[in-house]
Symmetry: C2
């Protein structure tokens, strides 16, 4: 890994028309899904160079170092891409809850139990 | 659940300007992340009424019953939403590989091991 420039595979990733790629964060030990956010190339590069997850905040329109304020940074252990290169999976070691509500995961709301084919 | 119309929470979900919401599929037993795709309201309703994951194919511009051709349907056990309602997490029981390559998960490519804070 060369921190000062993009690794070769970055050019093969498919950023959308806004320059963003979806990133799913999964706890590297428990495999719990913690959050989903979006990265631009700069956020991905900062993630690679610092080892902590950075995103592009679509609501605030700015780079976002996750945990910079709360201390709940997400240390990245592994980055995977899906088959068509438009989504990233980050296996992370979280310093604290991923959700601003204090929940460990942002996915704390169960909407449905669908069990038609038991 | 009332199959013939949207459950009340659907109106609280945040579909994007294209009418889509991100959906992460996770194996309900192994917790492996299988794939990420996008749903519109119709795909979500079909998922709820059939118990099998339906998506909106952004590349083909059409509704997509996952596994309709291959038989590798994704039976949905639980649907969760994240804190701001713009992403769904589906816990699924897959009938076969999620990826068109034959891999169980679309995320079979490891791009980086980042381990700066062991």
């Amino acid at each position: 890994m060369t921190p000062s420039r993009f690794p070769p595979y970055v050019s093969q990733l498919k950023f959308d028309e806004k320059g963003l790629i979806t990133a799913v964060l999964q706890h590297h030990l428990t495999l719990q899904i913690l959050m989903v956010a979006w990265m631009n190339e700069e956020a991905l590069n900062l993630t690679l160079t610092t080892g902590e997850a950075h995103f592009w905040s679509r609501s605030r329109g700015e780079l976002w170092h996750k945990g910079a304020t709360s201390g709940n940074v997400q240390r990245v252990r592994e980055i995977r891409a899906d088959c068509d290169g438009d989504t990233l999976l980050l296996l992370v070691d979280p310093a604290g809850p991923a959700c601003h509500t204090g929940e460990m995961s942002c996915f704390y709301r169960i909407l449905e139990n669908v069990n038609r084919n038991p």
